[in-house]
């Protein structure tokens, strides 16, 4: 990992003043309540989906088919539910750890995607949501390496999430297979220490918004470690996080926010920089974003750094 990427801490929390620590504890509690709310929604949703599908299956004429389909349905529902529980429990546990580390003032607020990575047995995870035209709406990452791998994939226009999105299936590769399958992306992620990847589509059951969940690591985890297939975790994310409006809206401020996601997950600097280039050079927004990405790739720097430099006027593109 290059110096520009290592040790980047995106959120700092922790205070010298004890009263503020109590405030932080309360805030942690608020997040924990959110996590519990999600777990509750998971159970509720899974039950309703199961009841609905059960009804459909019961109307099938063949008894053998009914039994087979029911068994498959129960297996899938149960796996998604267990993955959701595991994911939210891991998140809540991270919140608790965070709380106990408040005193030293360096703790970083836990990210949901780190819990997603550990639940599926990988080292890093990235959730991407994009609209019908393929424009990114959210890029939530567990850490800087996972985010970097994602940026390489976008810039080089090939990689596991492209394939998962196109094929609708889970895509997994490791070792030398990475370069065979993706001649540009494979070697590029190898240089940042990623030697195994997997991606699954995140099905939101609507046309206007789609997503992919991509995980990265040294090797593909064995099933006993991972336990959950990536598809189960992607299902759990879709059902218990992305469909909870109270996590999407924050009425008290002008900006809406997904409270389980961090500010950087919305890539504010990249969009501000695109606005700057749009105004200054007349580029349309999508082209401006592509230009900033290409520049970051050519200079081997994080997209966010380049974007911040454009916004501050320090970098004049093109």
């Amino acid at each position: 990992v290059r110096p520009a990427w290592s040790g980047r801490r995106l959120t700092h929390v922790g205070h010298a003043d004890p009263r503020q620590n109590v405030e932080a504890a309360r805030q942690a509690f608020r997040f924990a309540v959110r996590a519990a709310e999600l777990a509750h929604r998971a159970a509720e949703h899974a039950a309703v989906v199961a009841a609905h599908q059960e009804m459909l299956i019961q109307s099938l004429p063949s008894a053998a088919e009914r039994h087979g389909r029911m068994a498959a349905l129960h297996r899938r529902t149960e796996k998604c539910q267990r993955a959701a529980e595991r994911m939210h429990l891991a998140f809540a546990r991270n919140l608790e750890l965070w709380l106990s580390r408040q005193a030293d003032g360096t703790a970083e607020r836990p990210r949901l995607l780190a819990a997603v990575a550990s639940t599926s047995g990988w080292q890093g995870a990235v959730l991407t949501l994009y609209n019908r035209d393929g424009a990114e709406r959210l890029v939530a990452a567990s850490d800087a390496t996972a985010r970097h791998a994602h940026e390489l994939e976008v810039t080089l226009a090939e990689g596991p999430s492209w394939d998962a999105a196109r094929g609708g299936n889970v895509t997994t590769e490791q070792g030398t297979q990475l370069e065979h399958r993706w001649p540009r992306y494979g070697p590029a992620v190898g240089r940042i220490g990623v030697h195994a990847v997997s991606a699954a589509p995140v099905d939101l059951a609507v046309d206007q918004l789609r997503g992919t969940l991509t995980v990265v690591g040294d090797t593909v985890p064995t099933t006993s470690v991972g336990d959950f297939r990536l598809g189960d975790v992607a299902d759990a994310l879709a059902r218990t996080v992305l469909r909870v409006p109270s996590l999407v809206h924050s009425d008290s401020r002008d900006l809406p926010s997904l409270e389980v996601f961090g500010d950087e997950d919305f890539q504010p600097a990249l969009h501000q920089a695109a606005g700057v280039l749009h105004e200054r050079c007349g580029w349309d927004i999508d082209n401006a974003i592509a230009l900033i990405r290409a520049h970051a790739y050519a200079e081997d720097r994080p997209v966010q750094d380049v974007a911040e430099e454009v916004v501050s006027g320090g970098l004049l593109l093109p």
Binding site: R26, A36, E37, Q208, P245, F266, Q272, E279
Partner: protein, 248 residues
């Protein structure tokens, strides 16, 4: 005040209560047991959130006010709420009907319809009361009642948290057809995400246009939206699509 590990004692106490609260909710959610969730909520209100006593009213709207269930931290508070619910013009019914939260920071000054409940609360030696309607997807499904004896009244953050905890607890008990609402929820998500990005782009455009930094650009955007009573997202979209000559 710190112990020898350097942890603030207040934080530690809060951390322990928090741990207990987390464990409680994990168990209650896992079993889906409404009684346990409501108990957990009441515990949170009194151990973590500054209330001395609390009560939750669980309402079956279709069946009317008779089909209600009151759970409280102690019998006298439960009785107080029950008595008030029996009054056709009482504060509890008013809270459920209007869907408005109410705080009475000084019980001696309570007006109708709160006078009756406030008088009862004073007899129990409370100094403030708070009533909060609880909703599930817009519908009022019950209410949360907090009682305290601190002279300065309740803290806003505590009230907000108590409300979130109570809605979570009651929401578990209600049967919902999540499937129907799936597309609405995703549409909300989509709008929220797009809105956020368009606002960032507009900030960049205004910053470059006027040679100001993005914070000032945002302030300008917000002021324009307020002055014209418009949604900030709509103003930002106009800027990006060149339909906002007044901001140039």
């Amino acid at each position: 005040m710190s112990n020898r590990d350097g942890y603030d004692v207040g934080t530690l106490a809060t951390a322990q209560s928090l741990r207990a609260a987390l464990l409680g909710v994990a168990q209650a959610v896992a079993t889906g047991d409404l009684d346990r969730l409501v108990r957990w909520c009441l515990d949170c209100c009194t151990t973590l959130l500054g209330a001395t006593a609390a009560a939750v009213v669980d309402l079956d709207r279709a069946a009317g006010f008779e089909q209600r269930r009151v759970t409280a931290t102690d019998a006298s508070v439960r009785e107080l709420i029950e008595l008030d619910l029996d009054l056709p013009t009482g504060a509890c019914r008013d809270c459920l009907a209007t869907g408005e939260p109410t705080t009475i920071p000084d019980l001696a000054l309570a007006l109708e319809p709160w006078a009756e409940l406030a008088a009862g609360a004073r007899e129990l030696r409370f100094t403030w009361i708070h009533a909060d309607p609880l909703r599930l997807r817009g519908d009022v499904i019950g209410s949360l009642h907090l009682f305290g004896d601190a002279t300065q009244g309740p803290e806003e953050l505590d009230i907000e948290l108590a409300h979130a905890v109570a809605e979570l607890a009651l929401g578990t008990g209600a049967q919902q057809h999540v499937l129907d609402e799936r597309s609405t929820e995703v549409a909300q998500l989509h709008n929220a995400l797009s809105s956020r990005l368009v606002i960032e782009q507009a900030k960049g455009i205004l910053a470059a246009r006027h040679g100001i930094d993005v914070e000032h650009a945002f302030a300008r955007l917000r002021k324009h939206a307020r002055d014209h009573r418009r949604n900030i997202h709509d103003v930002a979209r106009d800027v990006v699509q060149h339909h906002a000559p007044e901001l140039t």
